[in-house]
Symmetry: D3
């Protein structure tokens, strides 16, 4: 049986409701989320056995995050405790021409101050089949980056599939190292990468490119450069996102396996209830597709795109969507009929 | 003066707000509704004298439903009391590609366990001019079906106009009888039917058809088959609904009186605030149009379509729309300007 | 340094949430607003020194309005106190084909019962550079109109720029005078006017016109008539608004300076979170543009249109938008991307 | 069968929740209430046929008040329409040492601007057995006082029992007449009076008294003075209220019928959920007791006190308490056990 | 290590907030609870390994209950699925002299329609050390009673400690059997009983008694009768509850082990936030005390009383209290100081 | 005219509502507060000119804190900007035997990372008459302590009255210094101290004492020791607080001026709506009393105690109480009557 372990930070998410600006709010909706945890929730919803590894503070707010993991059936037995605080992000959800706004308050979090060796990766990964990390963790702090490398190496040693969502956030990477100093070694051990080509090139320290995702013929050549840099790479995928407005997005996807380029049709997403976490929904769908022998690559990509679209209709970071709902959308029913 | 009596079940409606999934909600908005009651509220809003007949439990939740009837000026003096519970339905409102989801919890409700003869139909209908029922009531339980038949027969005997919204719900009809066992006799006494052609054929036990509502020439022939099966039939109407997404609907309508086919233009409905009850709004508009001598059939159909469109902008089951608002829309003003 | 003084009424705004009809609401969102105050908030958000002059009742509700002025950094030191009540307006926000609905309850407010001479305009305006009023104040009551005239005359005497938003509200003007009896003298002293051509003609007592704003060549001739009637006039602007539905608006603008006609492209605004106050947002953007020497007239108009568009995404009367957000939209980014 | 008609003003009540001060609230709970309407709701809850007569504005806010009457089964068929606004009162609920605070905004309401003769009292009262008014209505405006006198005279002529709650509010009575100018004639026709002795003396223009309600022997002499002034008087009752704090009240009552003094034990009321309307609950209980032949005067007083106590546990103006709950308290069970 | 298994029904709890009556509420707070599940949550909070066994419907509402179990760290792996609905109870929380009101809607729930043999008790209990049931389960339906008997017998066979909270609810027991027909055999296998003496006598079919819990000398004799009827009985405990009002309770306890009577001091509980589940909190504390070898019987009783008291300060069915908080209260600190 | 400057940290306060535990909340009420700011709000409410000096982050959350200062009329012109985050504290409000719980998340806040010299104290204090600080600021970080010392010295140099609330928080003081290392020099310049005797002794590095505040004769001797240690000391005050439960407090006070001991009667405070900030309310009342020449010391102490009591009825950190309300309580009216 498959077991997917994801590693990263889970934060308290404080958001205003009904598109209110921060200065108008006298309450915040409180939920929890973070890229790698969001992927775990997606997979748990699809019935995959998943575990999330992180570091939490030993206070009530950390306890709330732990209860959230349990609620959504994500195993938490290897969570470590220490540090002073759960990271926080504030979210103001935009509409139309006004974009959403995120204020990060995650410095000095328990996850950022993890000390190397706190997690016994050999124990954690001994019965896992897949390890997922993202470019956020090495961006938080040097020790988080080191812990991530330890995880990736152990996963590789144990023969797990290692996947990475590049997730570049320019506001992070403040501890003195650049992505190109850290990411190449981490990507060395990864066999699945999700990200834009220009982000991948940037993180690998290569010259910037301006890929034209509409020109499908030109893409394999560019993806092949990644395959050369990452010796264990098997699959690269890219989420295509066209923002008409904060309330109207268009979503598609591309997948390349070194041989063939797969593309998924662009879907309209309107209105957008909440787009935060939609990339993680893509990643969760992709892993689900690739982990199942009965699902081919085209279908895996289609699932990823459908999951990403459906996530936009859900408040909060997670993709609380069932396989049935994804399959209904994939079978062509985007009509949003009442089920009764 | 006209007086319309409708008969059916009113339920407690428990819905999540702001498109939350059930698993995200720690509160439910509580309101009340049900197809035949919704029609009564529409008519009361238009100034028509209306009465709703149902069976309620003698507990506080039944009392809340009763207060709701009173609030919206629907006469409740012939409601009967008994049984154990008010039926419930849970609603999760979708958005975009995610459809709304209804979980029914209406089995064994006070209405479903009505015993034949509890309602004195001769007394109820003595000063009424119109009786409305829908295909939901005979689907709930055998005794409800029998009570409905009793009502329809009495209404027919007293010379009332009898209207029916076919309202087929596959999740009901669990008590051992199929629609074709029950509906033909009920429809025998009805002079107005609202429903799709295929539903009507199915309920009458006829071979299935696949009508093309865009091909107006082909429709009279199909409707005529209904006229042959239902000797008292005077008017059939069909709501045309094209679901672009859960947030975008297109609404039109067709009406046939045995001689002539009337059609109403398709209107775009976006965004959708709440589509539950929009069919009942169509029915309410249709009855209002047909009951008034000064309103011709084309206008009656137009009112039905406009009411249906406007209902999509209202939270809850009922069409809390005034005649002024319908007329404004019919006069071509869909601009949604601020009235100030 | 510039200092803008605006004069008018601030009201308690009681609105239903989530498109509820009044009869469905058991609570009202409470905020504060009014045309001229909304302009002041816009300017304060842009960093302009602003002051609002009004008359408030000496009770707790008046105190709430005062706290609101302070919160948004609008100077309130010349507010006068007296009268019995803060004006109120009730708002039901529409959607799609259902328009929003405003119920005014502002008669006999503290502002309407202002007595001439309560405000020492020489003191108020001594260090100001701009005075803004609107057609609402002279519509409230005779004494408010007189106080407004006193303000305009003093502003003119002191050499301030005087701007007016015509803001015709047919439900006001109940005290026995028509706009044409009052407005011409007030507009005589004004150098900036915002309004439709037909409103301007009506208020000046001229024959009605039906301007075609798409036919840009025909407009200067019409605007020139205003210049002839208003000897101090320097600039006239008109907000172009096309209502597709309550949830979808198209916004553009025209500006004429006696020599040249400037136009701004029509922008789509969808969804509409709250359109009340969007005209004031236009006015605020226009003043901001015209007050800054480094901003030319085309850019001033563009800012006004962008501010108006962005306002539609904000709940409440005010345009809580920053210059950064306006500039991002003006630079072509309407994508509503998440800022993180 | 008994039918009670009450006459007065119903207002929109806007209250902060959870003891928030006005300046902390960004929403108001919206409900409806007013002394005489509150009495009607009490009686309707007890199963008495009741009707409320008032004047409402023909706008949506007036429509909400009308729906509230219907919801609570108070007949509204003789409501008249006109005027501009529904009166409003703002409420901030205190706690402990901080008292609740009411801000009235009821001047110029539809009820205050009623014109004499708008109500056809002969028609209204033709099938009634009891008419109830309070000292608030003649305090609102001269025309309201005149309409009230007309009602009282008609009721007297038709042989109805006429009851009055003195309800002195010093903030009203602003139209140029004092209570002693108006109330004596109104009380002349009344047979039941609820009020403090000092209020009664004041309203009748008599020398002030300082009754000691603990000294039961001294009371009949004082009450007898009222009997001499009011020739139709049969019963006087006084609510005894001792305020320990905003959260702790002690409630008792005294009733005198010209012969005998009845007293009810003081009951502790803590915590206080909402004390507004508790006097009206006393009045409602008193009328219920006196209207029933099977209830003696001592029991009527006890019901009034129990209803008043229980009202303090209910949010909003009305006493939403059943007879069962009153009887349970009267039978000595103040334990507040869970009914399950 | 200890592992406690509890068996029973978990329901959806729909409660009004802020003491609102049902007829005032337009939303319900939604949570989940049930006697035996509440005990499991208590124990999980104290760090005891616990599992809850029940039957849930395979719909979204059942899924919500499952997520709740997970969130609070109660093992759910032996939950069975089937039936149509999750039981519901409606709760209106009283205050002062007004008691709380529960409306049950739990008939025909998935748990009530469990079929014998659906649960493999040998598998469920193989690694458990304690089994807890209550008198509610055999009261729901005959098949639930049979399943409970199967569980108790298996637990006894495996040598588990078996505890029972008598929990008599007169509104249940509707399926044709009386407690005395069913409970004796179930209690035969139980070694810990929580309940009033009169309830125990009633359920065992004995003559009614009126125990005086203040007369500690008389109690052993009565408890000894229970020991004679229940051959495996080791400990009986009784919660003492004196209701001053719905907002003020007094809580104490008695424990008898066949030899010695232990008593705990009466504690004042005011205000009461929510008393539902406080008996389950007592049971949870008692099990925690008795399961730990290092805790003597007096301390176990004290913990039970303290847990019961603290539960009254928590909204919802569960006792979300930590051991630290219980110990703080037991050490004499009832001061409710801010921890900061 | 008096002008009071206070200096310290303002935090975002995130609290659960209705006594919910953190794990039950899916939203937090968001407000702002901090000891020294709370004092400023009190004084502003009493009509005293006040200014708050702090350091805020240049992000939207810092902007919200700034708007809060403005709203409550506290001057903010000398606020400095820098650092990364606004400090946060999470609050769970207890009830009865369950105390409130605070989780601090204020490390590395903008205020804690203030750099010496960022504030130009000579400029800030040039027109002030009073400077207030508390023992929290030197506990946050070494640089905050240094900035505070700079402020105190400058205030002393300029002849301002310097007051200090000792406010010992054991969870702070983490940067390597103990109170006795820092506080003596700060207190050297202070003439008004609010605090317990044992806290004062501890902070001054003296042997611990156990004062008996009921034994008024013993107190002057102890207070005199403080006078010897603090050469500029003129007045010491101590809040007496007896916690019956989280919902019931008893508040009194003692003031000593080197000559005479003043005491205020103990007042019962029940229920407690929110006790956070009640000490700051005492401080605000004390400053108000001492700053006014017309108020003697006994009255100043009484005002402080009354303000502290009334604060317990207000949600949030601030004492939103007017002088009228304080005076009403001081005049003996604790009855909490409705003002109408």
């Amino acid at each position: 049986m498959n077991k997917v372990v994801t590693f990263g930070e889970i934060m308290l998410r404080l958001s205003t409701e009904r598109h209110l600006r921060f200065s108008q709010a006298n309450k915040f909706a409180a939920s929890y989320g973070g890229g790698e945890f969001n992927v775990a929730v997606s997979l748990a919803n699809y019935g995959v056995c998943t575990e999330f590894v992180t570091r939490l503070p030993s206070n009530e707010i950390g306890g709330c995050a732990l209860k959230e993991m349990r609620k959504f059936n994500v195993e938490s037995k290897n969570v470590v405790y220490g540090g002073d605080r759960l990271g926080i992000y504030f979210l103001e959800t935009g509409a139309g021409t006004r974009g959403s706004n995120v204020v990060y308050d995650r410095a000095n979090s328990s996850m950022a101050t993890i000390e190397q060796g706190e997690i016994n990766w050999e124990e954690v990964l001994k019965d896992a089949t897949w390890f997922h990390w993202s470019g956020i963790t090495p961006a938080i702090s040097e020790s988080a980056a080191q812990e991530c490398l330890q995880a990736v190496k152990t996963a590789h040693k144990f023969g797990l599939t290692v996947s990475c969502d590049l997730n570049y956030r320019s506001k992070l990477w403040k501890y003195g190292k650049a992505p190109k100093d850290v990411m190449p070694e981490l990507l060395h051990y990864s066999s699945i990468i999700l990200g834009d080509l220009d982000t991948a090139f940037f993180m690998l320290g290569k010259d910037q490119v301006e890929p034209d995702y509409q020109d499908e013929k030109s893409l394999p050549e560019l993806y092949d450069i990644l395959f050369k840099s990452c010796p264990n790479l098997k699959t690269v995928a890219t989420t295509l996102r066209y923002s008409i407005s904060a309330s109207h997005q268009q979503i598609g996807g591309v997948l390349y396996d070194g041989n063939r380029l797969y593309t998924a049709d662009i879907k309209d997403v309107t209105p957008v209830v909440d787009r935060v976490g939609s990339g993680d929904a893509f990643m969760g769908g992709l892993i689900y597709g690739l982990i199942n022998d009965t699902i081919d690559k085209q279908k895996a990509l289609n699932i990823a795109v459908a999951a990403c679209c459906l996530k936009h209709t859900i408040s909060g970071d997670y993709n609380l969507i069932t396989l049935d709902e994804i399959n209904r959308l994939l079978s062509g029913d985007a009509s949003g009929k009442v089920s009764r």
